[in-house]
Symmetry: C2
Amino acid sequence: MLTKTEERYLKAIYKINELWPSLVSTNALAHKVRTSAASVTDMIKKLAAKELVFYEPYKGVRLSAQGVAIATQLVRKHRLWETFLVQKLDFEWSEVHEIAQHLEHIPSEKLVQQLDRFLDYPKFDPHGDPIPNAEGKFTLREQLLLSRLEVGQSGTLVRVKSQQNDFLRHLDKLQISMGCTIHILERENYDQSMLIQIDNHHTVMLSKQISIMLFVRPA
Amino acid sequence: MLTKTEERYLKAIYKINELWPSLVSTNALAHKVRTSAASVTDMIKKLAAKELVFYEPYKGVRLSAQGVAIATQLVRKHRLWETFLVQKLDFEWSEVHEIAQHLEHIPSEKLVQQLDRFLDYPKFDPHGDPIPNAEGKFTLREQLLLSRLEVGQSGTLVRVKSQQNDFLRHLDKLQISMGCTIHILERENYDQSMLIQIDNHHTVMLSKQISIMLFVRPA
DNA sequence: AAATTTATTTAGATTCATCTAAATATTTTT
DNA sequence: AAAAATATTTAGATGAATCTAAATAAATTT
């Protein structure tokens, strides 16, 4: 049985590796779990002793097959709970990440299974992230960074790249929500900001910073 | 902010005190939280320093008003989660206690509130235990130990006194479930066992041991 | 009331996850 | 390739929750 902390590290390694597929550095991991590099080294050794990661001192760490399996189940639980909180308990998408961080560590195979069934086996969570099934498999959708769309093109918002509270609440303010249609009206060359129209309705300026955080399915 | 362990102790004191309204002894508490008396003494001092309990060395411990408030909220969360697991996720009443032990420590005021709403403000959990509301108040129903009913009398099962897995599964086997009608047909004098009829249908022998674990509302 | 038994507390050690500071390895700059 | 900067590991300490063993207090028995 793993401690909550061990699970946190495994999932952090998984997530970093998802973005940057290579050995995960001690520092990157320390940043992700908000602790010191020294603590990370300690924990990595523990996980290596349990054969959940492969570790080469000074080089970095990567998950073993077993480590991947555990991390995937954590991601599954996290995303199912987020879906539950939004769909059933009327939470905002900006509120659920933190609570799901706790819920994902509740130990019960049956709980996840029944939750999945209760939600009718959702494939994506409120942020558009894919939900692994019981076997750890998940669907990848066609997706493209909004910043890559050309002027004149349109896309449907299918995923956001950050769960940060203030980022999501900013999107709320702009009335940008999952599934909305975004049409590119203009693009400024000097700062890559873009003028967009949302759901054929209102028009807003989007900074590059934001446009690289949104995934769309091109129309 | 309290640790999960501190919360466990507070709730344990609350529950022991509920059954035996007096100072809670170190040993009783040690037994309840399955640890040593020495550990309990340590923890009690910590809780006393936080003014959540009043502690007299060698005499015992009792909750302060603040301690009662926290314990009551834990009971509330525990019972709401149990209700959720049975009503929404199709768990058996014998399976939910352990999972709820974990869920009750998830920190989020809004989570409890929304869960309560989602369940439509239930007053009792699957074992018939009253669910405190957000203010900590709960309803007491008229209830009587089944063992106190006379031959010829009937009652409706409204509460069970234990959450133990094997006890509840034994009731399942006897087809005794919450809300069923129990009619006393005979009582043996030498061991206080009773012959009962359930829902005007099948007939079984109940040992005293079991009859003192069931609360009924007399018909 | 003294002796014995039982309950409780104290003392000292252990494990987990963390920290800071110092040492060492690696990478980058010059 | 040497120097400087950065990243990583080691060493030693800390706080939380636990343990065992020993000391002490309270309750019970004789």
